[in-house]
């Protein structure tokens, strides 16, 4: 991963369009750069194109216009299987393989990459500790885990082959507030240690402010602004201001309700 010089963005979207085969446009004229080691949050309401943007990066979708580059190479020119194995991917529904144990779920990519069983076993144990799972549950199946545990397995699986890039699509969206809070905290400390380049999709401003080094605000298939959390709170952009207002209203009414 050292071949590219550090001042190049790790992920770059240049004037990217995406439309469905029916011709309906989902993204238009998207320009975005993600720097090494940062957590870029894609914030927007459902249908704004966040997930589509994420899927363009690991080429689950191919852009209908423009270019997506990862590590300086257009994804259209790289081997798509290699590309995806070099990028960790965590989705909201987790997508754990229900017929595999936790250990096989986490160790799948190392396994198909031809690691030795001992090395996979050690790696799985290491990852489980890293994401706060007891290695004792390695032989369980996903349906025997709690929502929070499943999500941790999902993160461990994405980290298995030590990718430099992580794509996370509302990974904590389906969790209860307390578990979500805990996982967000753990994500921050994990990110401090691992220093991955992360693209994180959420519709939750609180999560975006907490986790993001920059926030890319999206609306109706367009990028509205890219702001740091501080800039976001002070932004005069009407959409950003509306988010902040809605967030403040939520706090207001909850404090009123409490008194």
């Amino acid at each position: 991963m050292e071949r590219t010089s550090t001042n190049h963005p790790v992920i770059e979207l240049r004037n990217v369009d995406y439309q469905l085969p029916s011709g309906q446009p989902l993204l238009a004229g998207l320009n975005l750069q993600v720097q090494r080691g940062e957590t870029l949050v894609l914030l927007g309401r459902s249908g704004s194109g966040k997930t589509t943007t994420l899927k363009l990066i690991n080429r689950l979708l191919a852009p209908t216009g423009g270019e997506v580059c990862v590590n300086g190479t257009p994804t259209s020119q790289s081997d798509v299987i290699c590309l995806r194995r070099s990028i960790g991917y965590v989705i909201q529904e987790v997508g754990l393989f229900p017929h595999f144990t936790v250990e096989r779920n986490i160790g799948l990519v190392p396994h198909i990459e031809g690691w030795t069983p001992e090395r996979i076993h050690l790696r799985v144990e290491e990852l489980m500790r890293l994401v706060g799972l007891d290695p004792q549950i390695a032989s369980r199946y996903p349906h025997q885990l709690s929502g929070g545990q499943r999500q941790r397995v999902g993160v461990a699986r994405a980290l298995a082959a030590d990718p430099a890039i992580l794509l996370m699509d509302e990974p904590f969206g389906a969790l209860d507030a307390l578990t979500r809070d805990q996982l967000q905290r753990e994500f921050l400390s994990l990110q401090q240690r691992l220093n991955k380049t992360v693209v994180f999709v959420t519709h939750d401003l609180r999560e975006a402010l907490r986790l993001g080094s920059r926030i890319a605000l999206m609306e109706a298939g367009r990028l509205v602004a890219v702001l740091s959390p501080e800039e976001f709170l002070r932004s005069s952009d009407p959409l950003a201001a509306a988010y902040v207002q809605a967030f403040a209203d939520g706090l207001d009414s909850s404090s009123r309700g409490a008194s």
Partner: protein, 210 residues
């Protein structure tokens, strides 16, 4: 008591015809699985194939079995030996449940799981063999189970064209108005069908993903 006596007396022939019956059903099911599962995968992954494949299998299913045996009789090579012909006909009938259940099983795999696998960099064949087929296996197996149970019954008709099997007893019994003979064919056939149903049902339950 009489029937038991008859069974004991004709033990050898009953065993022989049961084995013949098993051979007809076994080979035709195997062929249906070998042909049907790939066709099911094809129609699940490429919707263009869905209609022609399932449509053809459906149409074959509607041909009355005696008529199908008759139609195939003049076909060269096939018509030379009655068991070849019977196996082909049974295979054709067994195709529909196998294809349909393979299709349903694969389409029924949670899209999030497939998406996650694709996003992790699984190739299409890794996705098929490690994720889709294992998760669809219990549904596919229930199709095979239906195919086997139907085949055991249908194979009795194969005796009409001289392919052997337990149908021999039944047709002979019908001609001679001899209930014992009919039962000598029908009871082992029913036992075969029930045990296949039970055995495959057990396997299906074991393979069902939690």
């Amino acid at each position: 008591m009489n029937l038991l006596h008859f069974f004991l007396q004709n033990q050898d022939q009953i065993v022989e015809l049961t084995l013949e019956h098993l051979w007809l059903v076994g080979i035709s099911t195997l062929l249906a699985v070998v042909v049907g599962i790939p066709l099911g995968i094809l129609s699940a992954h490429w919707p263009v194939w869905n209609r022609p494949v399932l449509g053809t299998a459906n149409i074959i299913q509607t041909i009355p079995s005696l008529a199908l045996f008759g139609f195939l009789l003049p076909v060269p090579w096939l018509g030379d030996r009655a068991d070849r012909l019977a196996i082909l006909a049974l295979t054709l009938y067994a195709l529909l449940p196998v294809i349909r259940n393979t299709y349903t099983g694969i389409r029924g795999v949670d899209p999030a799981v497939v998406e996650a696998g694709r996003g992790m960099g699984l190739t299409n064949s890794q996705l098929l063999f490690q994720v889709e087929l294992p998760l669809a296996m219990s549904v596919i197996l229930s199709g095979v189970r239906v195919a086997v149970v139907v085949s055991v019954g249908l194979a009795t008709i194969a005796a009409a064209i001289g392919a052997g099997g337990l149908g021999e007893f039944i047709f002979r019994g019908l001609a001679m108005v001899n209930n014992q003979l009919i039962l000598a064919g029908a009871i082992p056939a029913a036992v075969l069908a029930l045990s296949a149903d039970f055995g495959l049902g057990w396997l299906e339950k074991r393979l069902r993903p939690q």
